[in-house]
Amino acid sequence: MAIVERPSPPALQLPAGPQVAPRPLGAFTRPSATTGWKSWLTTIDHKRIGIMYGASALFFFIIGGIEALLIRLQLTSPQGKLYSADLYNQLFTMHGVTMIFLVVMPLGAAFMNYLMPLQIGARDVAFPRLNAFSFWVFLFGGIFLNTSWFLGGGADGGWFAYAPNTGVTFSPGHGMDFYALGLQITGIASLVGSINLIVTVLNLRAPGMTLLKMPVFTWMGFVTQMLLVFAIPVISVALFLLTFDRLFGANFFNPAAGADPLLWEHLFWIFGHPEVYILILPAFGIVSEIIPVFSRKPIFGYPFMVASGIAIGFMGWGVWAHHMFASGIGPMSVAAFSLSTMFIAVPTGVKILNWMATMWGGRLRFTTPMLFAIGLVTMFTIGGLSGVTHAVAPADTQQTDTYYIVAHFHYVIFGGALFAFMGGFYFWWPKVFGYVLDDRWGKWHFWLQLIGFNLTFGPMHILGLQGMPRRQFTYLPGYGFEFWNRVATVGAFIIALSVLVFLINVTKSTRAHLANPVPVGPDPWDARSLEWMLPSPTPAHNFDTVPTVTHLDEFWHRKYQEDETGRVTRARPTDEVAQKGDAADVHLPSPSYWPIVMAAGLPLIAYGLIFNLGIAAVGGAIVLLGGFAWGLEPADDPERAHSHAAHGDGHGEGDGDGDGAGEGDGAGDGQESPEEPAAVAAGEGEGAEGDDS
């Protein structure tokens, strides 16, 4: 019998040349799929992760919205009997937890993940696998929290979970365990993600992109990450203490053992107040991108916009006890926090006025994103003003724990953050997916949402001032609460209709695009920042060549020339400035199984702590082993993922990538990418030097 020697399959061929990546075990092959649903499970591409954050957030938004509608149905009439007080308490608790932790925070994460690397001219974040890990941990944490509905009941102590009501004595079911452990898990996601983005912004900016040339959105995202890094550990501590009280018989919040329940309040609000700035700053950033584009003017007062964001970040740490004006903290503390709360209105007011000044003298195009951005400015103003009335502590002792507060925070979170995120969807949709959402349907979405929102939450100011407390499963007739509650319920269903319109818009626009794809081009809005320089949808490798930045609004300055008086003339057509997206062999970080595997261990630990320690041990083992696998897997797979992946095309030679170890393989390539031809980089403000190319 002849021995036939067949060549080894390509996957086992070792690359020739000096750089040989070791392949310890076949099991640690890095995944190679770049298309198909499996590729989404192993992706470490910040853009895909951003998309998944956004889709998950929208899914949880539907859940939280249904919880809201159920709440409103119960409160339509006095002494409503739709469901028990117990179920109602679960509904409002889960509504709050879902909307804050599983909707608004991940929506911010979606935009920040997708856009921040692009806006600073990077190829990805500093730690791509960690980025994927953050997402999967968030998703599994959110799912874990919601399985409480099927495993004994949702959390029922309010989203703020005041002790000792949330201890085992007064909340004997598992709901609060799901709360404590679920938020602990999602906290890990945020904390890890914040470190990632901070390092990205500090280390991975394109050449010439100084901090003060970063777009306002990236700045607001950066401040948000700094807030997260310091705020999440505080809630983690509080949740650990609560978990130990509930599961292991500790007494951190047990007054009978000498504990002071105000400890929980302080810990929670020291986290909770920076948390609300975490919710709103990305939205402020989005509006700071949209308004200049549709006013055709730069953001007015960039230094003040950046500085006010930083100021809000710092001052946000000094106001937490304004949530405790009635808790018995004493007049000195009340006075001090009253003052600090009033003055944090100043940097926010600066932003509102600067946005309006951006529009002054502009040429305003009322596209859907612009309408939503204007929505934030007008609605957040109302919420901010009611916030100032809360800062007056004696008045707040009347207002706190009433519907006046409910009105305030919905105006700032929904009227503020959510309007901005909706605007952001319409604005960046073409960049992400390659087609625009229908603008007429978008306008219907906007108007229905605006009207529904104001009908729902406007009357709550009145209800609160008339003395209707919050967190009430019902109210008595004759106290003057009936009429406005009814109005609010109608409004809530109009909001639901607007969300439906949005979903229909997404479906219709997607179908129309699939049936008849028309390239939307890199820059459908004539925008200003670097992401618009790239093809739509963004290629996997982001930039063909990493741009050298010489201006704030770098992309705009490549298209237009500005003289000293601010007059503008067109310098180059967009298709000359925009990149083609056709760079081959850009080295990208490889996908990995281990982020999702490790993330899956965490909810198992949590289920185990509640039900059976054996499950927790399994979860712990998965996390541990997953961590080792993560650390030991080859940094580079010889069958590397490339932006134009073609298996076996003989590209085994080292691509000049000397750092075989660790993460951030592709992201730090600034110095290795070819420099841009000097003519492509923006000229100085005076005018193009020499010839245009």
Binding site: N165, P261, G361, T378, P394, L465, Q466, G467, L476
Partner: protein
Amino acid sequence: MKRILRPRFAWVMPLLLLMTACAQDAPQDTLQPRGPIARDIDNLSDPVFLVAGVVFVIVEFGMLFLLWRFRARKDDDPDSAPAQIHGNTKIELGWTIGPALILTPIAFFTIVTVFAIQAKADDATMTVEVIGQQWWWEYRYDTDDDGEADIITANDLIIPAGQTIELDVQSRDVIHSFWIPALNGKKDAVPGRTQGLTVEADEPGTYVGQCGEFCGLSHSYMRQRLIALPESDFEDWAAHQREDAQMPTSGDALAGAELFQTTCSNCHLARGINDEQHADALEQNDGRVLTVPGSAPDLTHFASRGAFAGAMFNLWVTENPAGVVQWDEIGGELNREELEAWLRDPPGQKPMDAVLDSPDSRGMPNYNLSEDQIDLLIAFLETLD
């Protein structure tokens, strides 16, 4: 055709706020002070609302102006752009400092008011312990200053009108919050702490409020009533409250009293009726009456109150448009239907995890009383005036 944004409800908001100030059937209205402290708060917050209203108008109408004045025209050259103004440091400094200057007097008067309200406690002529628990309020007076409470009531907090009263707000279980909007803001009842809340009513009258901190299942049904009486009426009330109840001598009331002794003594005390049985129950329960469970309102003068079940239900029929029983209606026509329903099945009326003979029971359980037993009890309870 480009549509201009018109926030339709912008102009309505200040109007609506005005409307609330005139609402008649709004017994918990925070904008109609009936006592000096609530008035201090109102006098401070009214100008602040006004300033907020002015800022609102400037910003929102300013925005409307911008949208109209600077809208893009159809014939704009797509390759041109308006003058690219990057900022104006003077203006921006102006609108940083300006709002700070507007806030400064607000801050000043806020601090003055915080300390002025705090100082009112020093003028108090009387102190009442206000103790919250799931889901009712207990009031304890020490009228003879001997360190021991001599009047223990629930639901209706009776005070003399025109005097400053200091409330020592406490809790026996979770955090609650005592609040009578017409007289003052709220103060949380935190277990393990005693916090002060000062109230004073200008005139005699009945003022109502609700628990202002989420406290579990029946947070919505934990209410409080405050009745301010002319001083001599208050003295009469207090003297009567110090007396024990009279054991009925015959008829349904006597049978009801005996039923009360055997059935209700585990939790309730009516001095002069079931002192012995209650003390026995206390001993058996290791003195647990001051902790949850086992603790229930003192019923010695039950029929002198306007409401029951944590002030969730009226004890008497009322003509008041908001359904608030007034002082002169107490002792009038009994609200028999709701009292019967309560005795028939308390957890069916008010959400509570109340289970008979369970150590974890919270609130009043269902004793499966027969209709006859309910009638007897009511006949007895009516004598506890």
